[in-house]
């Protein structure tokens, strides 16, 4: 929920760029609050997406929320170097997302975001090995995999979602009340194996 101080000014407008960047990089339990603050900070971009790009409100919202998710990830990873202001940086992402939305509209393309994220992860792997893995990933039945993910026990699913959201095993242990981060790691690997077996059946 949007919070405001006693003067009625939303918290998201009170904190500096550096403070919000710092909070997003620290992750931890306060990460959610920082994400909300970032979302609220430039929420007026949605109106701009509608006025300047001719998007519907739903499309402009999608573009903006994808922008914020992308920015959160890049800030957490340290990719944002602070050469421009946070507003300029986010607006640039937003502009591209609006263009993606327009393209999506004209080509009926379903997902632009997935390719981007997969590429991020694959960048860890050397070129020759990467193409092998990429070919195999391209064969994934994403709908089935999503269905199987939702068939997992709730705590297992929760654990995998937090892992994918860049929470460390230590942070997951604190949030989901596991005894140690080692227990989280063991459980997480078991959940991944469980998901793989469900997917293969």
């Amino acid at each position: 929920m949007t919070t405001a101080n006693k003067m009625g000014v939303p918290d998201s407008l009170n904190i500096t760029d550096q403070e919000i960047i710092g909070q997003l990089r620290q992750a931890g339990i306060d990460k959610r609050k920082s994400e909300e603050q970032l979302f609220n900070r430039y929420v007026y971009f949605i109106r701009e997406g509608m006025n300047k790009h001719g998007l519907s409100e739903d499309e402009a919202f999608d573009a903006y929320s994808d922008t914020i998710l992308s920015a959160i990830e890049k800030i957490a990873q340290g990719t944002f170097e602070g050469r421009s202001s946070l507003k300029t940086y986010i607006y640039q992402i937003f502009f591209n997302k609006c263009v993606d939305q327009l393209r999506k509209k004209s080509t009926n393309k379903q997902s632009v975001h997935r390719t981007e994220s997969i590429t991020d992860r694959l960048l860890h792997i050397s070129d020759s090995a990467r193409s092998v893995v990429q070919q195999l990933i391209d064969q994934t039945d994403w709908n089935l995999l999503k269905k199987r993910l939702n068939e997992l026990e709730e705590k297992c699913k929760q654990l995998l979602l937090m892992w994918a959201d860049s929470y460390s095993d230590k942070e997951i242990a604190a949030a989901l009340e596991y005894k140690t981060s080692d227990v989280v790691k063991t459980s997480r690997l078991r959940c991944l194996q469980k998901l793989r077996s469900l997917y293969k059946t």
Binding site: I46, H113, L161, D165, L192
Partner: protein, 241 residues
């Protein structure tokens, strides 16, 4: 090391440079291992997408709430203007009502409300006339009318009973009957104060049938001209009608 744990170590950056190289070689050389890596990354991806879907849903709720707050905030900002507009509208309406001609029926209603709520009783006297007035004052107009009419029946020259009977009929909205009694009052030459014409005008104004107001005005003009009972009010009403 179990394959999933091995893959996890690689992506967590826990392997040394030579171990990383071995890992990547294994992807190329071992198709089942390559598939394990692909599964690991696909699982990560789908979990990430699901997590982002939840976040987007949460953002949507925040957005909807902020829109609601914005609307209510706008209402708060506009409140002084709305209050001023409402006051102006009230003033204009008041002026409109004030300057708008009052209808004959409204004038009659006001008079009946102010003057015929109760009939004056003579405290020291106990007779059928006083009893009938008390019935009227006790909000029993039908019983009171019967009592007054019994008196009239027994004494057709009792103009006081006829006046009261007419008033009761007026209150009971029996206008024709009221007119009949008030007209009979005209014949009373003994009374120093005779409100007959004024009451007839009042009844016509209240009845408000076609031509009633015109006739009422003529009666009121007579009241004024002949300086009869109700002259002051008649003058006032004539200005308004």
């Amino acid at each position: 090391m179990e394959p999933t744990a091995y893959i996890d170590s690689y992506f967590n950056g826990e392997l040394a440079a030579d171990e990383k190289q071995q890992f990547e070689n294994k992807i190329i050389e071992d198709p089942s291992f390559a598939e394990e890596v692909a599964n690991y990354l696909s699982a990560f991806q789908i979990a990430k997408e699901q997590s982002e879907e939840i976040k987007k849903q949460h953002f949507l709720e925040i957005y909807k709430q902020s829109k609601t707050h914005k609307t209510s905030g706008m209402m708060r900002k506009l409140w002084p203007s709305i209050a001023i507009a409402a006051m102006l509208a009230g003033i204009i309406l008041g002026i409109y009502l004030f300057i708008q001609p009052v209808s004959a029926q409204q004038l009659a209603d006001g008079y009946i409300r102010d003057h015929f709520q109760n009939l004056g009783v003579n405290m020291g006297k106990r007779d059928s006339m006083e009893a009938a007035k008390e019935e009227y004052n006790a909000d029993k107009p039908i019983a009171a009318l019967k009592s007054f009419e019994r008196i009239i029946l027994s004494d057709s020259s009792n103009f006081e009973a006829k006046e009261y009977a007419g008033i009761v009929c007026l209150r009971l909205q029996q206008y024709d009957r009221a007119m009949l009694y008030f007209k009979q009052l005209e014949a009373d030459t003994t009374a120093y104060i005779n409100p007959s014409l004024f009451y007839q005008a009042l009844t016509l104004m209240k009845r408000n049938h076609s031509g009633d107001v015109r006739e009422a005005k003529q009666l009121l003009q007579k009241v004024v001209k002949n300086d009869l009972e109700g002259k002051e009010i008649a003058e006032e009403w004539l200005k308004k009608l």
